[in-house]
Subunit: 255 residues, 2 copies
């Protein structure tokens, strides 16, 4: 038995989220069906670094599974991509120790959120960006607000109440806001993120950029420990699980 | 009665092409259904500058219709976009003379074709680019081949036999091949293009770039006046109807 971990990209548009559910197409189901095909009908379970919601995309989701197939490491991406649907792609595969855990061993994650500025309807980016109204006019205010998020805080106010997680203390190490042509790219790095945390952070920062709330209000939101104190949950289709970090570079080491 | 012309963008992914047909969702049907909604259930016919095939996108398709509605010119895009599906967008609307014809009055068109280079499966560009194998290695050869296409020729070899058009003489004024990051952008301008002409031109140029046929062979293909002499028809999902030209700048003039 060998344990493998895959870096996986997916277009979340046609998925009802990552995790297996009774109704709706999910990434996990698509991935495990592909594993089953390669294993001649034998069910192979998989684990991911975390779930993503409906419409949320991934550039670097991490998925692990165990296999006894004699496929050479460099051929695993080819084998998996041949059976995966066109909106899921394995970008890299590494072998890991048998006690590796793709979720518990993470040391951090990066999410990105793409905002489309302007009023014009955009047919090509409708599923890949969020286009808020009123328009964002004050990016500097957003950056000032983002500064208050850095460090270790109780992020209860920025977490959906629909979660079982008790400890809501997390560390955000970086929030970068980059203006790129007609888009605004929000890049979040941290030790970990609570349920819908990046989307609520983004919804709140957008309101700051729209002039609806001052940058300093973010401090009060954190103190409140109340979801209702923060802004709305930005839509899933602007969000990308960009990268997941571990103690070692899994794809450099190989084993 | 006022005649209007719209510049329309659409994501061709979920359409079976432009023109109304018995089965499958089409852009024309979506557009005319939206016109019908605005006209309180009255059917309004529309005409386009030309058809596009299944999967083909548009940045600048032109569609005309007549209406007696008292909507101010600047409010037409808002009214139409409110009732159009999310994958069709009216970018601009102008009024034109009553004898204007969106198809017969064209003086030229620009098509663009996006090619994705590299072997890596790309979930985000799968519906918006064509990723040929073997990889394109000789862009200069493609440019040399493209040079032979310029000017006025009988393009029978580059036209699908499934057409009723008899006169296959067209003028190509520009074929530009631009390397942009991991993509190759092919830009075609001409007096007009035959059925699937841009896709067959592209399929042939790709073969030149792959080293499968020499640049000079394009001259022989033109002379042959035989569809079988040219390369394959490149897939629709890499193609964009980019712009349609008329004697005057319709959207500058207004009327």
């Amino acid at each position: 038995m060998t344990r493998y971990v895959c870096r996986v990209a997916y277009d979340g548009t046609a998925f009802s989220g990552y995790q297996v559910q009774a109704n709706g197409r999910t990434v996990q189901t698509a991935f495990e069906q592909s594993l089953k095909k390669l294993h001649k009908g034998v069910v192979v379970e998989s684990k991911a670094s975390g779930r993503t919601d409906a419409g949320v995309h991934a550039k670097g989701q991490m998925i692990q599974f165990d296999s006894e197939l004699g496929i050479a490491l460099e051929n695993w991406p080819i084998a998996l991509n041949a059976v995966l649907p066109p909106d899921v792609a394995v970008m890299a595969v590494a072998t890991v120790p048998d006690d590796f855990h793709v979720r518990y061993d993470t040391t951090g994650k990066e999410y990105r959120y793409r905002i489309l500025r302007g009023r014009q309807k955009d047919v090509f980016r409708r599923n890949y960006t969020y286009q808020p109204f009123p328009l964002i006019t004050d990016v500097e205010a957003m950056r000032a607000a983002a500064g208050h998020l850095l460090g270790t805080h109780d992020f209860t106010s920025f977490c959906s109440p629909r979660t079982d997680v008790v400890d809501k203390v997390r560390t955000i190490t970086e929030v970068e806001i980059v203006e790129e042509a007609d888009e605004l790219l929000l890049r979040y790095r941290g030790s970990g993120f609570l349920y819908q945390m990046v989307r609520i952070l983004t919804g709140t920062l957008v309101e700051v950029g729209q002039g609806k709330r001052p940058p300093d209000s973010v401090k009060d939101i954190l103190t409140a420990k109340d979801r209702d104190a923060a802004g709305p949950t930005a839509p899933g289709h602007g969000l990308y699980l960009w990268d997941v970090f571990y103690d070692t570079d899994l794809f450099k080491k190989g084993t």
